[in-house]
């Protein structure tokens, strides 16, 4: 006798079940979107530990937060925005606490490509948090300036100015190659 085959839950069902507090549904959402949330958080905070904390906070708070997801637009896009805001809040708190990221003592990279990647990582980590956030949101995550203004709670025009400053600073840090 053939085994019964159950179809995987639809995205809509998954959100409904997560909203209702189902841990299995939350785990499934984590498997589908956890890496993306973690990547946004890591790029914004430039810290693996902070990114892990943001990842945890986002998924711990997700069932309640979903009550405010109106279903317009993609869930993944909405979740990345929430992750970005959560990471930004954490960065503000860390700065107020006076926490300073420690310099990276990792060994020298072996190849020129790896060296370039390590350089850009270090340079990004060396940017002021407000500049890094705008650079990452615009250049890596692909948000428009209007969207960045909304996500970060900035004045109109500030995002563009910060992006320019971030690039200038990165030019200084990396050398204009």
């Amino acid at each position: 006798m053939p085994a019964a085959v159950s179809s995987p839950p639809t995205p809509h069902d998954l959100l409904q079940q997560t909203r209702a507090g189902d841990p299995d549904a939350l785990a499934e959402l984590y498997r589908r979107h956890g890496a993306a949330v973690h990547a946004v958080a890591y790029r914004l905070t430039a810290s693996a530990a902070d990114a892990d904390d943001v990842l945890q906070d986002v998924f711990v708070g997700l069932p309640e937060a979903l009550r405010r997801f109106d279903g317009r637009g993609s869930f993944g896009g909405w979740l990345r925005r929430v992750a970005a805001r959560t990471a930004l809040m954490r960065m503000r708190r860390s700065t107020r606490r006076g926490e300073v990221a420690l310099p990276d003592d990792s060994p020298a990279p072996a190849t020129p490509d790896a060296a370039a990647r390590v350089d850009i990582e270090r340079a990004l980590a060396g940017l002021a948090p407000g500049l890094r956030a705008v650079f990452v949101l615009r250049e890596v995550e692909g948000y428009s300036h209007a969207e960045i203004t909304e996500i970060m709670g900035l004045r109109a025009g500030t995002s563009e100015v910060r992006l320019h400053r971030a690039r200038q600073r990165l030019r200084q840090l990396l050398g204009d190659r």
Binding site: L26, L55, F59, V60, L62, T86, E139
Partner: protein, 715 residues
Amino acid sequence: MTLLHPRLRTLDRYADAAGQGDPRLAAHLLRCARCRRAVDHVRALRDAARSAPVPPPAADALERILARRAAGDRVILPVAAVRGRANLPRRGALAAAAVALLVVSAALLLRPHELEAGRSELMLAPANPRPGQTVRVEYRPGARLEHESVVVLRAQERVADAGQVDGARVVARLVRGRSGTFTGSFRLPDPVVFARFAVEDTAHGRVDANPAWNAVVADAAGRPSLEGLTEQYQALSRIDMLAARRAAERAVSLYPDAPGAWLRLFWASASLAPQAQADSLRRVHRLQVRRLAALSRPGSHDLAELVFYASAVDDSAQAAAARARLLARDSTSADAFQQRVIVVLGRHGGHHARELAELERLWGQGGGVSRQLLFTGVQVARAGNDPAAVLRWGDRMSAALPYTAAYATRSALAYPQIRAEAMERVRRLVRRFLAPRDDDRPLEMAAPEFRAMYRGAAASFLGELGKALAAEGRMAAARDTLELAIADSWDPELFRSVAQARLALGDTAGAVAASARVAADPGTAAAYGDSVLARFGSRVARGDWRAQVAAARLRMRAQVMARAVDRRVRGPVRVADASGVLHDLDPASRKPTLVVFWSRFCPAALAQLGPLQELSGRLRRGGTRVVTISFDEPSPEALAFLASHHYTFPVVYDVDRSAQRAFDNAATPRFQVLDRAGRIRFESYAIDDVLRQVTVLRDPGEAAGDVAARNEGGS
């Protein structure tokens, strides 16, 4: 047409436009290798950033997320900012929540966000200094102190088991560099395990404080010390229980065998967890109690903490066992005396004379090292109605813990049998209050406010002295002392005492003048004027009375305004309502606004919520906006707290601390009164003067307006 080299910013924009940019610029780029390189560099940066590797999430991340959910942990996520007026919420089951939402909604106006405006930063290196190690300080001023050239760093330093610490001292002078950043350095002396910091300018008395500006001193191995983490928890738990819980979690992770660390984690978790999970939380912690009890050779302090931990999770057997182990090993440390006091109270079940006798015996054995013994001595003496013991224990407590002197003196004043001794202590206290030491000034309090607070305390105790003199029948001395008390303050209760003293001395005109001040106060019932006129009959003409009340109002106004400030709210305020939705709060509302900062974990704030409930209804009926801002998180527990106390004043939550920054306030409770334009005009730590402050702002020009009419005796 020749195009000069465009500005770098223009090239950036061109790179962003992905081939859709200005054709003249495109033509220029074909000719100009330098500008082409700049555009290519922007694109190369983008590509490099996109291809930079991202480490994978921690392997146990999902497991920890599910465990946190199962333990009842909840996080309010910043889902979206509300653009425009919020929809009015439907009335829910909890009246308090509904009222809060309605009032907040009415207060909302659309404003652009700029959360970083006015924000300052304080950075310490190293973040966890060792005792005596030089700490470098960088302070980037927000709007508040941006025009200063030199500021000072004050520190509230705590040693292990510090108890209440209010005062702070200057530890460094910070000098502005070319970049606008202030720098300096300091060292924390050896016994200090934790410090909180604030920056202030000495010229204008402005203070920039933030609860997050603190440092835990490291032990010899470079770890944050357990004592430091404990004091950090104590300091944070009054204002931000989530931050306090993080401190407790850190302590547990670093010191898993320290019962005190687990005790504080339990307290924080129990405060934040839903009531329904209280039993399961206690069950989990009972397992920890047993594990810790089984450890070999714990120290005396650990045993004392284990007693409290076991008691907190309702494991009385483990508590008794730990106490017995502690007392078998050590009977004269502060921890041991604390436990012995508890044993005494348990043994005699409220027989105060016997308890006092035993406490006296502990005192004779050196028990003065225990704060618990000193506090208990005063409390039992009061409960036992023993004036001599009240005086004796009060003196002991005041000598060991100077901040308790006012409490001890007030306790003594309640007993006629020791009035002369109590009066002597009042005089001593007044002398101290009139010449306060700056090292006693709380970290967040500006010097002018501190001096005003002490002047107020001196006036209050002079009033007590005057009343005590009157009770002894020394009416002339009572009158003179009371006059001194009211010279620089506005206290209707003291005005009544002055009126009585003057009347007793046959000074009817003076009694009427003092009564007019009572009548002029906005907190006085309308019927008071009638009762005064009825009492004095033909000796007071109605017209004279009306004029005296009007003059008293002018005097009240002058005294209230003498303590006014005038500063703007720095940057927009974004607060969450009970359901976690964020709103912009506009400080200007065409009417005065009372803003109250509080936390349900701050005992001092809780003591003022009852009076606030009473006052807020009155203020709102009179056209004043009331906004209370909690440092708590919006949660079912926070709503249940409001509902269980029947508090209906509006509450919003400062989830991202933008209100704290904008109102430049790190304290709880804190009362700030704003004028119609949204400028902060009054600030205080107590509710006492708020009604007068609002009245003065609401009716700025009147001399003999509605309050005088209300109190002028039915005319």
